[in-house]
Symmetry: C3
Subunit: 258 residues, 3 copies
Amino acid sequence: MVVAFLTDYGLRDDFVGICHLVIERAAPGTRVVDLTHAIARHDIRRGALALRRAARVAPAQVVLLAVVDPGVGGERRAVAIRAGERFLVGPDNGLLLPAARALGGAAEAVEISNSPHRLTPVSATFHGRDLFAPVAAVLAAGAPLDEVGDTIDPASLADLELPVGRILAVGRAEAHVVDIDTFGNITLDLDDPRILTEIVRVNGRRAAAATTFADADPGALLIYIDSSGALALAVNQGSAADALELKPDDEVTIQWTP
Amino acid sequence: MVVAFLTDYGLRDDFVGICHLVIERAAPGTRVVDLTHAIARHDIRRGALALRRAARVAPAQVVLLAVVDPGVGGERRAVAIRAGERFLVGPDNGLLLPAARALGGAAEAVEISNSPHRLTPVSATFHGRDLFAPVAAVLAAGAPLDEVGDTIDPASLADLELPVGRILAVGRAEAHVVDIDTFGNITLDLDDPRILTEIVRVNGRRAAAATTFADADPGALLIYIDSSGALALAVNQGSAADALELKPDDEVTIQWTP
Amino acid sequence: MVVAFLTDYGLRDDFVGICHLVIERAAPGTRVVDLTHAIARHDIRRGALALRRAARVAPAQVVLLAVVDPGVGGERRAVAIRAGERFLVGPDNGLLLPAARALGGAAEAVEISNSPHRLTPVSATFHGRDLFAPVAAVLAAGAPLDEVGDTIDPASLADLELPVGRILAVGRAEAHVVDIDTFGNITLDLDDPRILTEIVRVNGRRAAAATTFADADPGALLIYIDSSGALALAVNQGSAADALELKPDDEVTIQWTP
């Protein structure tokens, strides 16, 4: 079973590498796929959304290991979850549940703060190394869930309220910036393709309904269904985030002629 | 067989991680080596040069998976190529052919837009995930080339005109900036070691012919044969690109006393 | 055996990817864990400290491959070291010895500049590719140490003087900035928990003795034992390095009420 690994650690330090090493130590031969380590520091929502995207293309045998953990060393629980045949490991702060839901829902869960597989003494600030990485490793190697922690009620797991766009009236919708990629492309929390009509305005600005970037002139704003299946905004050979001055969670008004 | 993976996706998003996950899903156990994901956005030439460098040290069993794809979702073909016992997968925009040539030339090719191994529906903007990654995975797992796409004529593959430096006269050459690394070292499109004489001028500036950085004083400009076998410029403990104010593809005049 | 890989190459170029490819070529199937490639250019001390951190959590079967090599192509030796059952490979400039010591000390060593496993011709500037990577690969695949180079005296290996903080008197200590992570957290070269009393001043500024970040108010300076077991400084949801205007190797005065 492979471990898919997501954090907000960045790649300027050796935090990620140390976790890889601990996984190898806990279960030699475990393969690890790095999903991303560039989640903005402490941004649980962005982490949860990226983890959910990964869940949607996940292989049948996988442990999703995610660490975006502003409450490390505090009261929040550390958990491992089973969803179907897959597992999720991380802090119980809402990071894991949207992905678990995409995998069919949390069927079983354990609290792992005192896991027999933890590295002792567990530091107060680096649970990725001391708790989450070794537990993910032994799950990937086949350990049963109830051997890595103490059973808890899956219904007690922390959930996350994700923004939801909505159609207010025919020809008018309210959406939010879910994500901005490195090219300035904006994913919205709306996926209704009926909006893609001949005349669309985004925050008052004309946007061309398109299938792909090359459909629009360089510099033109376009609205399209992106690779996650959501409505998205882009500027061909430019940045929609810059053009519209938008940042994550900002509200966006969309008008169209049905 | 290992997959060697190069893109312009960057590491700030999860594009690369998602492709890794799709490879694992398409052919569990496939190993992936990341070559680089920091090719400048849409810079096919820089991507082709890096892929060719990789081809020159490639193991006997490898699939080179490369995605620098400004035309994604448009007319350009998506292809898989066999060169000797190795494979290349990516957009048919010139990115692949210099590397294929370094591996002995494209012997067979297929168009993979309707590959049975693609993820459906194929998105218009993320062919790395939906097309290239799964096809590379099954090739690495041993699938025959004609099973992953429709046979096309290798002679029809898009090629790339790469810059070529030349000696204009004894003591005078014209070259171009092929690549600038993160330290500001400049690779030129010239490899004649006879230029490395006692008095060399680069764009009028004196450069010390050297074997390695430590041969020159800190801050001094040096000209040497770099690790790719090409003539190169560096400043010991500094940046030649800054010192000479050069960027990729710029022309450089070299004079020397034979 | 796994190869754990640390360099100052960065991820903007393909140096790291090329080394991965060479490892695969030299010993197909070798697994590689990237520790970090973001050591500041030529900063042997920072590299040595990171490698030592890795050594402390290293699995039983590992080759630590480290390249921070300002003297590449010059006089410094290229070496492979055995420490217990583990190996270290890199330039003989002090980078390796603190980690070797953490693994029980250098038991055997060889000079590898003329290793039969090197790629020829060895370039003057990229020993990572031509020397260190292939030698690490064959060691990981089980080659005996004396087959990859010429035996040298382990006592002749270059060592590194690392800063050492000290308690000057009861209530007064002098320390140094060992490392600053991407969040601005500062590791000091002192690990005496008796300093963590009710009133602590760092360079005259009040710091709250804490177990983890959440123990202090946002913006407050805190002093704690970090995940490496050392005394450290942080600002909750901020940067201690910015707040105290400190950089690596700077001296820090700590006062406390015993």
